[in-house]
C-alpha cells in the first residue's frame, strides 16, 4: 500500500478544484498550475524510482484489497507514461500561458486541462476495468469541454462529432464491461487476468476481447480514427497539443495493458487483427498526411500514423518490440505535442492555416525555424532523436518475428512523415522571406520556452536513452510476464 | 412568522417519524428541528401570509369534504365511462368567488377540480373569476353552484376565524 500512487491523479484533481474558486485570479491560476505540474513531475520521478527499486506499487483505495475494492497499480510502464505525460503537459501549460487569453483562463481552461491530465493519469494507473471507464470519462468530459471552449462555428461543429462518437465508444465500453463481468465475474484487471489464465480457452472471451479492441481502438485512433483529425483541428493550440499528446495515448495504453495482461487467449486472432489495423492506420494516415495543405490536417494525420506505428509493437508482442513501442510511445507524447505547438505557432504568427500561404519564416524567426527542422527529424525517427531508439527496437522485434512486410510499412511511414513536414519546412520555414504586415513580430518567451523544453526532452530521451533503459526494460518485463502484475496486485505479501 | 414556526415543528415531527425509532427520542426531535431550521432558512423568503394553527378541526372537516367530493366525482366519471353511450356536453363556464387570499383561492380551486366533472382552467388576475371546464356542463353548473357555497364556508372557517 502506497498512498503516493494516487498522487499523479490527485494532484491535478485537487489543484483543478481549487482553481475553480479562483477563476478570476489569473496570475494565481498560473502559479497554481505551475506548482501542480512541478509537484507532479517530482512525485512521478520519485514513484518511478520507487517502482524500479521496490517493484510494482499498489494502492487499495479505502484499504479494500483487490479484487474487491479499486486498486491503483504503478508499474514502470504506467509510471513512464505518467511521467512523460506530466512533462509534456507542463510544456503545454507554459505555451498556454501566453496564448490563451484572459477569457479562457476565466472560463476554467486551466482547471479543465488539469482535469484532463488527472483523467489521463488515472487511466494509466488504474488496475480496475470499471474504474478505467470512469477515468476515461473524466478525461473525455474534460476534453469535450476543452474542445468546445470558446465556441465558434467550426469548433462547435467538430466537437459535436467528437462527442457523439465518443459517447458511442463509451457505450461500447460499458457493453464490454457487462460482458466481461458476465463471463469472468470480476473487474480487477489482475483478477481478470488470473481467471483468464485459469480457463485458458474460450471464443467467448475472444468475442469480449474484440469488443474491447474496438472500444480502445476508437479511443486510440487505431483504424477508427475518423473523429481525430477534425477534433484536433479546432481547439486552441495549447489545448490541441495537449489532446495530441495525451488523448489517443490512453487508448493505446489500454490496448497494451489489456491485450498483454487479460486478452491473451487467442493472440493469433486478436493480435493479428491489431497488426492489420495498425498497418491500415499507417496507410490511411499516410494518405491524409500528404493529401492536405492545411497545416492542422497534416498534424492530425501525423498523429494517426504514430498510433499505427506504436501498435505494431503490440502486434509483434515480443520483448524488444514492446520495449521499442514504449520508447516510441514516450517519444510520441513529446514530439506530437511539439508538433502541435509548432504548427500552432506558425498559425499564430501568420494567421494562415495552409502552408503554401506561408513562406520564409526562418528569416524572422531563426530559432523557431531550426527548432522546426529538428522537430521534423525527430518526428521522422532520425537518430539521435528520441524516435529512433523506439523505431529501432520495434524493428528488431518485428524482424525477430519475421514480420518483414509490416516492418517495411512501418519504416516507410517515417518517410511519409518526413515528407509531409519537409514540404512544410521547405515552403514555409525556408524560402524567401514573407513581407506581411499581418505577421506577428515576435514569439512570446513562454511559447518559445515550451517548445525548447520539449525539444530538449526529445533530444534527451534520444541521447540519454540509457537512463530510461532500465525502466523501459522493467516495463516491458511486466508486459511480457503478466504473472508479475498479477502477483503484485493480488498477492502483495508474496503468498 | 407563526406559520414558519409551525412548519418547523412539522418538519421536526416528520423527521422523528421518518427515523422510525422504537421510542420517542428527544434528540431525534432536536435533530429534526435543526434540519427544519435549515429548511426554513433556505425557504424563508418565499413566504406570503401568516398561518393560524388553531383550526385543526376545521381542517379535518375540510379534508373530509374534500374526500367526499373526490369519491363522488370519481363515481360520476366512472359511471360516465362505463355507460355504453356517452351522452355528455362538455364546455367551459365561469364562476365568481368571494374568497380573497391565495390560499383560499387555491383550496377552492383544488376542491373544484376534484368535484364531479369539473376542472378549473383559468383564474383571472384578480383571482375572483374561475373558468371551469365541465364534463357535462348542464349537470355540472347545477352541482357546482350548489356545492360552492359549502366549500367557501368550509375554507373560510379554516382561514378566517
Amino acid at each position: 500500500m502506497n498512498n503516493l500512487v494516487v498522487m499523479p491523479m490527485l494532484i491535478p484533481l485537487c489543484v483543478a478544484v481549487i482553481l475553480i474558486f479562483f477563476r478570476t485570479y489569473i496570475k494565481l491560476q498560473k502559479i497554481g498550475v505551475l506548482f501542480a505540474m512541478l509537484l507532479l513531475i517530482v512525485t512521478n520521478i520519485f514513484l518511478l524510482v520507487t517502482v524500479k527499486e521496490q517493484g510494482i506499487q499498489t494502492l487499495y483505495f479505502g484499504g479494500w484489497e483487490a479484487p474487491f475494492g479499486i486498486t491503483f497499480v504503478a508499474d514502470s510502464f504506467a509510471m513512464l507514461l505518467v511521467l512523460t505525460a506530466s512533462i509534456v503537459a507542463l510544456c503545454c501549460f507554459l505555451y498556454a500561458f501566453s496564448t490563451l487569453t484572459e477569457d479562457y483562463a476565466k472560463n476554467f481552461a486551466y482547471p479543465l486541462m488539469l482535469f484532463m491530465i488527472a483523467g489521463v493519469n488515472g487511466s494509466f494507473l488504474t488496475g480496475d476495468l470499471f474504474n478505467l471507464f470512469v477515468c476515461f470519462e473524466v478525461m473525455l468530459l474534460a476534453s469535450y469541454v476543452l474542445i468546445t471552449l470558446g465556441g465558434g462555428k467550426e469548433r462547435l461543429r467538430e466537437s459535436l462529432k467528437y462527442v457523439i462518437i465518443n459517447i458511442f465508444a463509451s457505450w461500447l465500453f460499458l457493453v464490454g464491461l457487462a460482458m466481461i463481468y458476465g463471463t469472468l465475474g470480476t473487474l480487477n484487471m489482475a483478477h481478470l487476468a488470473e481467471r483468464v489464465h485459469q480457463i485458458h480457452q474460450g471464443p467467448v472471451l475472444t468475442t469480449v476481447a474484440l469488443i474491447f479492441l474496438i472500444v480502445f481502438a476508437l479511443k486510440a485512433g487505431l483504424f477508427l480514427f475518423y473523429w481525430l483529425p477534425g477534433s484536433y483541428r479546432v481547439p486552441e493550440t495549447a489545448i490541441a497539443a495537449l489532446f495530441g499528446a495525451l488523448l489517443t495515448k490512453v487508448g493505446i495504453y489500454a490496448l497494451f495493458r489489456t491485450f498483454t495482461l487479460i486478452f491473451t487467449v487467442q493472440e493469433n486472432i486478436t493480435h493479428t487483427l491489431i497488426g492489420i489495423l495498425a498497418c491500415a492506420t499507417i496507410i490511411l494516415g499516410s494518405f491524409g498526411a500528404i493529401g492536405y495543405r492545411d497545416l492542422r490536417q497534416i498534424v492530425g494525420y501525423n498523429v494517426v500514423i504514430g498510433v499505427g506505428f506504436v501498435l505494431l509493437g503490440l502486434y509483434a508482442n515480443q520483448t524488444e518490440a514492446l520495449e521499442g513501442a514504449i520508447y516510441y510511445f514516450m517519444h510520441d507524447f513529446i514530439v506530437k505535442a511539439l508538433l502541435f505547438l509548432m504548427i500552432g505557432t506558425m498559425i499564430y504568427i501568420t494567421g494562415r492555416i495552409r502552408f503554401d500561404e506561408i513562406k520564409g519564416l526562418i528569416h524572422h524567426f531563426p530559432l523557431f525555424g531550426w527548432l522546426f527542422f529538428l522537430m521534423m527529424l525527430s518526428l521522422a525517427g532520425i537518430p539521435p532523436f528520441s524516435g529512433f531508439i523506439g523505431k529501432m527496437l520495434l524493428g528488431i522485434g518485428l524482424v525477430d518475428e519475421g514480420m518483414y512486410i509490416t516492418l517495411l510499412l512501418g519504416f516507410l511511414s517515417s518517410i511519409v512523415v518526413l515528407y509531409s513536414l519537409l514540404r512544410v519546412f521547405l515552403k514555409s520555414i525556408f524560402g524567401e522571406s514573407m513581407a506581411s504586415h499581418q505577421m506577428k513580430k515576435r514569439i512570446p518567451f513562454s511559447m518559445m520556452l515550451a517548445m525548447m523544453l520539449l525539444m530538449i526532452c526529445t533530444i534527451g530521451l534520444g541521447v540519454g536513452a540509457e537512463v530510461a533503459a532500465p525502466f523501459v526494460k522493467d516495463a516491458a518485463h511486466v508486459l511480457t510476464n503478466p504473472s508479475v502484475y498479477i502477483q503484485a496486485v493480488l498477492y502483495p505479501e508474496g503468498g | 412568522m407563526l406559520f414558519q414556526l409551525f412548519l418547523n415543528m412539522v418538519i421536526a415531527v416528520l423527521w422523528m417519524l421518518l427515523k422510525d425509532e422504537d421510542r420517542v427520542n428527544l434528540t431525534t426531535f432536536f435533530t429534526g428541528y435543526l434540519i427544519g431550521i435549515l429548511v426554513m432558512y433556505l425557504m424563508h423568503r418565499f413566504f406570503g401570509q401568516p398561518f393560524y394553527i388553531k383550526k385543526v378541526w376545521s381542517i379535518i372537516k375540510l379534508l373530509f369534504l374534500f374526500l367526499k367530493e373526490l369519491i363522488v366525482s370519481s363515481a360520476v366519471v366512472l359511471k360516465q365511462i362505463c355507460s355504453p353511450k356517452m351522452n355528455i356536453t362538455p364546455g367551459i363556464f365561469t364562476y365568481e368567488t368571494a374568497l380573497q387570499s391565495d390560499l383560499e383561492i387555491t383550496a377552492l380551486a383544488l376542491l373544484l377540480t376534484l368535484t364531479p366533472g369539473s376542472v378549473v382552467m383559468e383564474i383571472t388576475e384578480d383571482g375572483h373569476t374561475f373558468y371551469i371546464h365541465a364534463m357535462d356542463i348542464e349537470q355540472s353548473k347545477v352541482d357546482v353552484l350548489r356545492s360552492m357555497s359549502r366549500f367557501e364556508q368550509a375554507i373560510m372557517e379554516v382561514t378566517r376565524t
Binding site: 468530459l141 465558434g152 462547435l156 462527442v163 463509451s170 457505450w171 457487462a178 460482458m179 | -
Partner: protein, 112 residues
C-alpha cells in the same frame, strides 16, 4: 425473464442505432439516451437477475441479488446524465452557430 430482457435490450439497441444514424440532432441525442438505457439493463441482466433479495442487509436475511452491477449502473447512469446534459447544450449551441440541426449539413466545408 433473462430471455425477454435480452430481447428488449436488442430492440433498444436496434432502435437507438437507427436513431443515431439519422440526421436530426435531437433524434441522435434520444438515440444516445436509449443506448444508455439498453446497456444499464444489460449490465443488470447479465449480473444475476432476480436471484435474491433486495440488497439491504438489515431488512432481509438474504441471499441478496448481486449488488456490484447495481453500483456500476448507478455510476454509469450519473455519467450518462452528465454527458447527455452536455450534449444537449452542445446541440443547441451548434444549432445557434451553424443554423442547422441537420448533421448532414454539418460536414464542414474544408472537406469539399
Amino acid at each position: 425473464m433473462e430471455t425477454l430482457m435480452v430481447c428488449l435490450i436488442g430492440i433498444f439497441v436496434a432502435v437507438a442505432t437507427y436513431l443515431l444514424l439519422s440526421k436530426n440532432l435531437i433524434r441522435i441525442i434520444l438515440g444516445t439516451a436509449l443506448l444508455s438505457h439498453a446497456v444499464h439493463l444489460l449490465i443488470l441482466t447479465i449480473g444475476e437477475v432476480k436471484k435474491g433479495d433486495v440488497p439491504l442487509l438489515k431488512e432481509k436475511p438474504g441471499p441478496y441479488t448481486d449488488a456490484l452491477p447495481q453500483a456500476l449502473i448507478l455510476t454509469a447512469i450519473v455519467i450518462s446524465f452528465a454527458v447527455t446534459a452536455f450534449l444537449l447544450v452542445l446541440a443547441y449551441r451548434v444549432y445557434a452557430t451553424n443554423k442547422t440541426d441537420n448533421v448532414e449539413k454539418l460536414r464542414g466545408d474544408e472537406y469539399e
